[in-house]
Amino acid sequence: MTIKLRYSPKQQALRAEIRQWLEQHVPQSALPSYDTAEGFEAHREWERTLHSGRWSMVTWPEQYGGRGLDLIEWLIFEEEYYRADAPGRVNQNGVFLFGPTLMEYGTAEQKARFLPRLASGEDIWAQVWSEPQAGSDLAALRTTAVRDGDHYVINGHKIWSTRAVFADWGFGLFRTDPTSERHRGLSYIVFPLNTPGVRVRGIPQLDGGAGFAEIFFENARVPIENLVGAEGQGWSIAMATAGFERGLMLRSPARFQRTAQRLVDLLRSAGSRGDPSLESLVSQAWMDAEAYSLSTYMTASRLIAGGSIGAEASLNKVFWSELDLTMHRTAIQLLGAEAELRARLGASDTPALREATRWMDGFLFSLAGPIYAGANEIQRNIIAERVLGMPKA
């Protein structure tokens, strides 16, 4: 079958169904930020609502609360989701990173135990990987999980754990063989964030929100049934997660197409303040968002046909993170002096002020894009070494 860039009647029907459901359920006004206690719970409630319509985990098998949609159908879902300006996914790391990992590496018991509660938003998950001395060089991590009877005893210090302040569970990478080095002797272990001996301390972000945290472990005891995969297999499991994260699912193209659309709308309504360079940036941003979408449709088609995604995932990560940053910077410039003003989330906020705040919040967040999920410098190394075949330094 040749390239056919048209949706089937079944895909069109799915789109219509999603659109209708979202029109009926997406909250009228934006929820407070999920980096506040109140906003976090509001977003958890939204996850429950999504789950009630079986829209929280559309690609998951039906037995875990999903719909078993394929990747093209997932793209359609995401397009409608962003088109509707639906709330951000507070359980994103669970949905897109931990869930798929567990489905691939977890035992039947673990899947039954974790996946339904993840799907319904009862458990919100945080990724617990980085350490003060192990960022880009993740294999330098030192936090240990030492076997003691039917428990692991965890000691050490993790950091930059997104959502951990308010989340329920963490999925982490720990050194289970204290004599090991680098990527050997690591294991993938999950644990409740309220485990005795686990202390979570929020780190205020650039935008002021409590988005990430550091986590201190002092003889925290975690039962051995919380080990995912085999002991010592943690690195390869984590890298599989990193593949999902960078590759396809963490940032669907629809998100950037929606931002690009808002950016064009901003230019159409506010003008370019007489600056032709801003006009070019807007058009370029729209083209890049479309290109990212088309590229993702190609990747999705290839995966559906039995292909796999490897180091080329790094191309995506660099591309969308820099695109997101450029779009928000451009919007800030289009807004001029209005850009600095913050909405107070009260009745006195004008729509224009809310939109300006949304752009500034998005701008601040977009600065994190080239850093998280593997800094873009690391991604460029991966592209050079594993896509182009250039030598390691």
Partner: protein, 368 residues
Amino acid sequence: MQFTFDEEQLLAAQALRDVLTDHCTGADLRRAAEAKDLADFETVCATRRRSLRELALETALLSESAGGLGLAPIDAVLLAEEAGRAALPEPLIETMALAVPLLSELTDQDARAMGVLDAVSSGDEIRVCWPGANLVHDITGAIHVLGGATDQDIAVKRATDLRSEPVVSVDPLRRLARADWESADSVAALRGARVSELWHQARLRARVFDAAQLIGLADRMTALAVAYSLERKQFGKAIGANQAVKHQLANVQIKIEFARPVVYAAAAALPSRLNGLDMDERPYSAKWLETRVHHALVAACDAADLAARTAIQVHGAMGYSWELDLQFYAKRSWVLAGLHGGRSQSFAAVHRSLVHDGLALGPDRSFG
């Protein structure tokens, strides 16, 4: 929804790539570029031309009943990519994607065009002289030239009847002449309201096929730069081990990989016939199609531009030398980036669609 090439499409591209790998090497290009005269040029190109003719790609876009292979633009886009990758001197893609389909449109109205089409099918060369441009590549190798004085007419003329003046291109493999289109009588001709639409559609198609060639060129230049970065040693190690070099080439690869799908999607959106008969049943507007085509050209130009600049830089002083074959690919990419309004007019067209024509946008509109 299916966005992967099928076996047949990939095999056709591979067949062309095989011929070009054998007969369009850097050394072959150099012999052609440094040919003493026309006779020498034709001698050094003869083997390749014979092998290409055996593939019968010139008429590939004609229906099978008309003696072609019945390919749609999307089936042929990878052929253009291969032609670009090799910096093919022959205007095979122009003949396949533009001259023959335009000629075929002519046959509906002017029976004389049928004879020309038959001659082209059996091996006669034909060139295109775009209205307003008057530049014809390799006119001496052709029997016929298809062109127009303005967008209001299309005609076929005999190459030898046309008064033409050789001009020199920066691309040493382009043998250009400036033709005086009014200097010869027509062998076949078409006038009327439909003609400007035919030229318009042909230009859209030309942009997509130029974009595909630019992707191939960018790919080739990147491959050359990577290979050199492994071979060239300084400070006791391959220069390609340095992040400063790696990251530049990674940036090129990113540009290529986010231009490629746009070019393919544009090719898939083109109507099979130049007069756009099958547009009616498509779920997108003519404006949307044009915007995608212009986007494809912008993206491919930018990828090839960065590839050329970076490949030259990675080669160091060698990159600035005539001796390096890289020049053939770089120069072809600069030439293609200027044709049919070039990158700038395409960028402006996208901008007009978005900001002034109010093209409908949004995450649900990736395909119209």
